[in-house]
Subunit: 299 residues, 4 copies
């Protein structure tokens, strides 16, 4: 990491030391907004932004994200959280408060193609991705130079179907060691076991190189070319035990035409993959995503 | 108007008879959200959507739009509004409640080129623009057939600089007669007097055929072509006494290239003008726009 | 049809009376461009635009579209075509010359939802879709008013699986009677028989309300909502005997989010369907599309 | 430069060793296409792609770009060029042939904000920008670490209005020493003298952080915020002696809303600047741009 990005991150933390995000999920019922906003008002917290959503007006599920500022936030944090318990119980809330100045630890998994990894490193270097990139794990040596030149630890762990359990054991140890909050599969071409996935529920983000649910599975660009589509896409989603079926976070597409062969589609697609994955990761870091069943609410 | 669109409008009104929109603007201070949400809760109103914005966290201006549903809304409306007066006074609020089932009356002004008028008529016919198009006023006869074939009154009022005062007098009488809430200048190429504009503050929407502030004034496509731009745009804005300087509501652009001459740019541009104007009008009809100084907040 | 659009069409025909489009498809080999451009030069034709494409540089298929102007074009047309025969034979060309001022006859098929039909009528009325809309055929009465008010013949032919053969017989008679060049399925919800389709190879354009190959078949918006996608799309394609599998002409997508339920997605989707279908139809009318196997080349 | 990108560049050069681009500009007249395509055919060159454009069908200027492949291209290059002279003279052509495997040398100028520089380095590292980044020149030390870590020479040359002549003298020496073909101003905040600009006519590409001609000059984001625009943009153009008035190569825009203050607009804008500049540079490297008066033709 260079001094430029270090400066950017430090400034971000300083600016946001009194800022937090309040995420709430509970059965819909009258009076939630009134109660929560009163609670924050009583604790001198100023609501900076607020979003809410109800799945079905009658008898449905209610979701809310509030961004607030509060003097001496980190000092009062415990009190703020404990004091909220009675309200949370009354409304049967699933909730958490995230403190903006506490950066999340990320592990990036990558195989041979480094474009998505490079994008994340780029955004991080330029101060646009506010997190601590704790380590990179790869089953290839391709990316070692790029990663280590930025002072980020790089672990080469060869992987294949036969040794999956041992490989994941090694990975889990590293993830624990670095206290990782979020795993990003930046074109990591190995399937993860259900057991591994469960340990990081809604905390593994993958990028699939098609506009899901079109071209689920292998070789999406080749199949897109065969079908003669006029647009290709990419999809980032949380990983679940169903391959390419997890909650979609973000998608985007790009135009192709008859002049674009498989190679050309891949090139156009890679640029879409980069931005779609980076956006999904940043939304996760900003605590903007709530998972509800197999869908995401992105505030 | 055909039976298809009549059915669409009727269904919309029925569905929304208990729905209203609450618009608030006041000095920022703690407790506004808490107070308003409690007020609505106490009156059995269920908040369906809520947006807020503060210009400057400290000592700034606060804006809020709440969409709510309430049983027997139209019966309780008066009570709901009167009961709010003490709160409104306490927080120095500028506020209004709009009832979704009460459609607004629109007057469309147009000159020779009918594409923007046609778009509005189209959206209205297909049930996407929920308003009452009360009349069309034009200084040309071009659009008479299209307008009258839909059963909308068409008034031909020749206009030019010399007779501006008399023309506006005639227009004002018609606007009064039809109880018009909103005037849409759908490529009406006459300048309005300050006096006229003041009578409809923030209720006249214009479409300018450039990406303002580029190419303010006359012949924007010709000038865009001369400059060799790679994109052309359109801007819809509320009309103020400063030509092309009013609060911008919406803008969009389209790609052009060296193959597009002035005529080609105009064709591409017209399609942008249509959608930009239609969007601005629909946002206004949905009470999503709050004007603050020379800017719009679009919730 | 009103006098406004009649004027637009007349002006278009006058302006283009000496303009034609030359479409060529043949095995790739050296010298094609040189030979064709020499032929046109020798016949005083001026090349205004030229596009070419080769599927595979070595031993592949070559495609070319040339737009040219030539004095007294319609007088020389026969000579121009006959004179080209030796060259066409030498290079084993599949070719045709289309004369811009000769408008194509269109039949529009529609069921209950009229938004795509309305878009085509709109574009035609405003002079942006240069064709003769000869008739509209529907298995519902919904659209009669809109169509007949523009002076276009409307035929109500009830349809269902059981009477498919008789229905298509009636339709074919009408298509013959009006000398139809192109059939547009503007949300016509009946399946056509292979026999019918073969009679109009690469001359039936359909709009499917999903981003193919995602959500092939019935109820795409419902399924898109269930999957939690962040974008929905529409696809226009030539109809073949495989449902939703014909050569894709154009696709586009729009953003949706968690707030959009099935109804909301449908509304957003309909606006995409409209523009995607209109674009595909206009490209066909401009002779810009060449079908090669199951793909389109759109020049 | 790492081994990953070295491999990408090598593969590109090998694949394109027999490929060239032919750029032509001449007075329009019949027979040009026929003559040039015959010339290439006679020299065993296979036309892979071809674009043409005429400013005005009658008596205007003609432009053509042909991409072709030819066995033993580099061996025949001299013969190919010399043999073309008579034709070129006959049609008064301004022409050149560019050999794809010969990479261009780039110098990047940058001041304090490194985002555009970083984008170019990123694209280069990932094998998407096929050129030799010969050196980076800056009037600040900010970017030294990023540049040198990739093995690219970095020159710090402090600059201001008073010492402009001396500074440019130093710069010109470096440009000569590295045999630079193209200068990219990646947010270089110093004005260049006319004398300097003339030495690199149509070979200096700048990025301006607004949608020109809106917000020419200083502080475009601040002024965009003041005006309340709903979109902000960026423009890349060749540098001429008129500030921000040179031929536009590429533009793009991004949406902003009332929530985006100056800082937010800048962040959104920077991402647009990055991609707009990178695209313009890549089109220049692909010899796709012809400058005609104060406009560009981008094939």
């Amino acid at each position: 990491m260079n001094s430029y990005s270090e400066g950017k991150i430090k400034a971000y933390q300083d600016k946001n030391e009194n800022r937090a995000r309040f995420l709430i999920k509970c059965p819909d019922q009258p009076g939630i907004v009134a109660a929560v906003s009163k609670y924050l008002y009583d604790h001198e917290a100023n609501i900076v932004a607020s979003d809410q959503y109800t799945v079905d007006p009658e008898g449905g599920e209610f979701f809310m994200r509030i961004e607030f500022e509060c003097p001496d936030l980190l000092v009062r944090a415990e009190m703020l959280e404990e004091g909220f318990l009675p309200l949370a119980e009354k409304f049967q809330m699933n909730w958490k408060i995230m403190y903006v100045s506490e950066l999340k630890n990320i592990a990036i998994f990558v195989s041979k193609e480094p474009h998505c990894l490079l994008e994340l490193l780029w955004e991080w270097q330029s101060g646009d991705l506010m997190a601590n990139i704790a380590l990179v794990i790869s089953n290839h040596e391709t990316a070692r130079e790029m990663v280590e030149s930025l002072g980020i630890p790089f672990y080469y762990i060869p992987a294949n179907k036969e040794i999956r359990i041992q490989v994941e054991q090694q990975q889990k140890e590293l993830l624990g060691q670095y206290d990782v909050d979020l795993i990003v599969l930046a074109r990591y071409m190995q399937i993860l076991t259900n057991d591994f996935v469960k340990g990081y529920e809604n905390r593994i983000i993958n990028i699939h190189h098609s506009f899901l649910p079109a071209f689920i599975g292998a070789k999406p660009y080749e199949r897109a070319y065969q079908r003669g589509v006029k647009m290709i896409g990419a999809t980032s989603h949380y990983v679940t035990s169903d391959l390419d079926e997890g909650p979609i976070i973000e998608q985007n597409i790009g135009r192709v035409d008859h002049r674009d062969n498989e190679e050309g589609m891949k090139k156009i697609g890679q640029s879409i993959e980069r931005s779609v994955l980076a956006r999904a990761v940043k939304w996760h870091l900003d605590d903007r995503i709530i998972v509800h069943r197999n869908k995401t609410i992105v505030f």
